[in-house]
Symmetry: C2
Subunit: 402 residues, 2 copies
């Protein structure tokens, strides 16, 4: 049993992770300033699923037999001393750092969102590191990164887990072999902050011997986990709006409300995916397998399969009869790319990946249908554009499902 | 003639650069929140040279025939909209970004200094980029980086200017050639922020086509430039305290006050150096030679020579008769390293480097002697330690000069 502080434990990944770790017998303490709920209000959006207040969530967890989980409402970016005092008092074995703004489109929405994302994400993560260093504490930091740090301009090389072995040829013909942090190529301000986080982890691991695990996660789909299914008030959030909704969940929910599936550009983008149930299992494996003091940062790719976006659209269209709409791509990204990723780290730790074929698509469709009357249709299009060169992803022409 | 906004124009590099650019005929507007003067008060330290208020500095510049320089007291990190409005109104061709906390020891002093350095440096630089992107302005950003981003664990490879050509061998024997940002290896929180800045520049150059030059500067020595010599009130600052004083200037000033020259560890650290007069010339060359829109970030190494620290100590000891004291190294760094750096970029642009042999040592010694009575002896030792494993750099044993 470990004592685990979960920063950002009210969010889409943080909440089911907190429950899963609690169910496994760990002592869990959630820290969150409920910023994700505040952003919903700012955007005029809401989770498709009706999520309960943190108080009701925690009460429901106890009601279903769960070990009590503590909660502190605290802004990890703005309240350094509050965070530091909590760490000093609670004395966690592990801190899981989810407390970052996590949507690429929101991070590109306007100048305020760019600035908020940078200041919030960098300060929150650095505050954790500075506090641990100052307390001389031996705490394992587990951070949620993103596959997006690697970029999507691949040349056919398999994306390794964090590090790349390279050879440099000097002008005089001599060769130098180096193992380097994979050169980052972020595609949004959000992804940029995760790339910057990597440099902070590298420094604190080297200078202070801090034990750090960075999880480069793919796009998460699904909503429920074994634990969130236990009670209506434990239900996880389901984002479908243009800023926070992730692509496969958006398709499933668009099908449920008879909206054409909105494919950005050609849909030729290949991305890595993982189901939320696998996310929580990966977090548990990461917590159970910390690096040693003095090790370099342990980087694991937290994904289970790759798909081209248009293939997902046609898969969902086939399953539901929905139409597919090719819309302008609001993002500045390659129209088509291949992606080949190693996830050997988690497989070796025992992860048994779920895939799209496992009936979980059906569950997500059923949830979408159950709460379809809560959908705000105007929130569906992606309107946050990367530059003047991009247009919002609004439906113009609809292509019938094949 | 260009319109140039100099952020951090009150500092050690910012002030002489502003005067030099003004002398060359550019229209210069200084922005500074005078934070460096505030930190002096916080530390109980002061510039060895008596620096005038910004008002008196600017009046002296006009008095000596200089074109008037405007000044706005503004915190670039905290006041985004003030900065943005100033950029919108002034419409600069070039923004020079010096407005970052620039001392490695200060950045490692304690948790507050770590947090201030990260929040201040990242926010200030990102605010500049976000404002330019939002204004859709075509402004050349020139940023002062540091040689420290490359790190000092060299394996004998010459340090290139920002980018490294590498080859990756896949398991199946196929080869992949890539030109990557040089893998960063910062040795302090300060250097870490400059490494993080690089990723922000990379992103905004790619996403917004922004024209950015990043200058990886060596350790600056000297105080005066052609322009700061024109009037007593134009004199540049001279830091000698343990946090802000740079190594060669510290040796020259220690000699002037009959303090042993404090060499950290074995003094086997090899570092890159540049005289402040060359710094201002490099800035002028960088301003005159922007990259094109769509180019990757232009990175230049702003240094003219490399020296081992103990060699500098013995050079100054020979010139002055001072003693040399080997003290504990408060930093977490390699005891001995070699360093071989390319500075082809500035040489090709026409820089004629000064060296230690050019009589400038004498000028710096004379300034140190002139203001020796202003020296606070208790401020000389480096007391900011990197980790529990380091001790302050306090004199124990003195070795007579050879």
């Amino acid at each position: 049993m470990k004592k685990i502080l979960v920063l950002g434990g009210d969010g889409f990944c943080g909440w089911p992770t907190s429950l899963h770790l609690s169910a496994l017998g760990h002592d869990v303490h959630i820290v969150d300033n409920l910023s994700r709920r505040a952003i919903d209000e700012e955007l005029g959006a809401d989770s498709l699923t009706p999520i309960a207040s943190m108080e009701d969530r925690l009460a429901a967890w106890e009601e279903t037999g769960g070990t009590p989980i503590a909660f502190t409402n605290l802004d990890c970016a703005a309240d350094y001393y509050g965070l530091r005092d909590l760490i000093a008092t609670y004395e966690p074995d592990t801190i899981i750092q989810f407390a970052e703004q996590r949507a690429a489109p929101y991070s590109m929405r306007n100048e305020e969102c760019k600035i908020y994302t940078v200041n919030n994400n960098i300060s929150a993560t650095h505050n954790v590191l500075a506090a641990i260093a100052d307390l001389r504490a031996d705490i394992h930091v587990v951070h949620l990164g993103t596959m997006g740090v690697y970029g999507y301009d691949g040349d056919g090389l398999q994306i390794p887990e964090g590090y790349l072995d390279v050879q440099v040829s000097a002008d005089d013909g001599s060769k130098f072999d180096r193992s380097i942090l994979y050169p980052t190529n972020p595609g949004s301000v959000y992804h940029m902050t995760k790339s910057m986080d990597q440099l902070m982890f590298q420094f604190y691991a080297k200078n202070d011997g801090m034990r750090i695990t960075d999880l480069h996660q793919g796009i998460v789909w699904g909503t429920q986990t074994e634990e969130t299914r236990r009670h209506e008030n434990l239900i996880n959030r389901f984002d479908y709006d243009g800023d926070y909704g992730t692509v496969l969940n958006r398709f499933l929910m668009q099908a449920a409300v008879n909206h054409p599936l909105t494919v950005h550009g050609t849909g030729g983008q290949t991305r890595a995916f993982i189901h939320i149930q696998d996310t929580v299992q990966c977090l548990a494996l990461a917590v159970a397998n910390p690096p040693e003091r003095g090790d370099r940062v342990k980087i694991l790719n937290q994904m289970t399969e790759t798909h081209r976006v248009r293939d997902l659209a046609y898969l969902v269209a086939d399953a539901t009869g929905a139409d597919v709409a090719m819309v302008d791509n609001p993002r500045n990204e390659a129209a088509e790319n291949d992606l080949w990723v190693s996830n050997k780290g988690f497989i070796d730790l025992g992860l048994k990946p779920m895939t799209l074929q496992d009936g979980l698509l059906t569950e997500t469709i059923e949830i979408s249908q159950k709460y379809a009357d809560r959908c705000l249709m105007n929130m569906i299009p992606c309107v946050s554009t990367w530059t003047d060169g991009q247009k919002p992803g609004v439906v113009q022409d609809v292509i019938a499902a094949e």
